[in-house]
Symmetry: C2
C-alpha cells in the first residue's frame, strides 16, 4: 500500500471508532471509542463504559482487547491494529503492551492523562504508533462532551 | 495503631492475598493474588486468570478493583487498601490510579515488568506504597511456578 492508501484506510477505520465514541457520548460516557482490526477485518468494537459499569477499568481499549482475544481464541493480538479516538492512558497502554498489539492508531492526544506523559515505554518495544488521524473530529467530540457538562 | 500493629495487620491481609496466589498456582496461572480491604473488612479477593480467561487484562489487581467497585456501588475506592503479592505492572498501576486507591501494599518487587520501572508516577499522587510484606513467601511462590514450567 502507498502512504496515501494507508492514510485512507486509517481514516476509514477511525470513522468506525468515532461511531463507537458517539455511542458513548449519547450514553453520558466520556466519548472515546475503539476498534481492533485483524487482516483488514474489524474483530471488536467498544466504547467507554466506566459510568454505566461503575468500573474504572471499563475503558474502550480494555474492552476491545478482551473482546478481540475472545474472537480470536488467543490472548496475543499480534496481527492486529488498534484504532482509538483518543490517546490511551497508562492503564490501556499497559494492556496494549501485554497484548503485543503491533500497531496503534489514535486520533487526538490527551496531554493530561495520556500514556506518553507517564509511561511512554508501556507498549511493546516493537509496536508502532500513528497519531492525528481524524484528530479534529475526535477532539471535537470530547470538547462538546465537557462543555455539555459544565 | 503503632507501626508494629500496622505491620501485623499488613501481614495478616497479605496472607489472604497469598491464599489467592496459591489458587492461581494450582490452576496453572502465574501465581499472583490480590485483596482489597475497606475499613478493616475484605471486600474483594482475586487471582490472576489470564490463561483461563484468555485475556491479558485479567490480572489479580484488575479483577479485585472491578469486584470491589461492585461491592461498594461506586467506582472510586478512596477508603481502601489494595494488597497484592507482587509489584503491580504498568496496566494495574494505571487502574489503581484511576480508582484513587490511597494505599497499596505489595509483597515482592517485579524488576522486569513492575510499574516502578516504566510508570513510577502512574498511581494517584496522594497514594502511599508499602513493599516487602511477606516478601519471601510471595517471591518463593513465583520462583516455584517458573521452575515447574521449565
Amino acid at each position: 500500500m502507498t502512504t496515501e492508501e494507508i492514510r485512507k484506510e486509517d481514516e476509514n477505520f477511525m470513522r468506525k471508532a468515532l461511531i463507537e465514541a458517539q455511542k458513548a457520548f449519547e450514553e453520558g460516557e466520556i466519548p472515546i471509542g475503539a476498534i481492533i482490526v485483524c487482516k483488514g477485518r474489524i474483530i471488536s468494537r467498544a466504547h467507554n463504559l466506566t459510568e454505566t459499569l461503575n468500573d474504572v477499568t471499563a475503558h474502550a481499549e480494555m474492552q476491545a482487547i478482551t473482546a478481540a482475544a475472545n474472537t480470536l481464541g488467543g490472548k496475543y493480538l499480534k496481527d492486529c491494529t488498534l484504532y482509538v479516538t483518543i490517546e490511551p492512558c497508562t492503564m490501556c497502554a499497559g494492556a496494549i503492551g501485554w497484548a503485543q498489539i503491533p500497531r496503534i492508531v489514535y486520533g487526538a492526544s490527551e496531554e493530561k492523562r495520556g500514556y506518553r506523559k507517564y509511561a511512554p515505554q508501556a507498549m511493546h518495544p516493537k509496536s508502532s504508533t500513528t497519531c492525528g488521524i481524524l484528530e479534529d473530529e475526535c477532539k471535537e467530540l470530547m470538547q462538546r462532551f465537557f462543555q455539555h457538562r459544565r
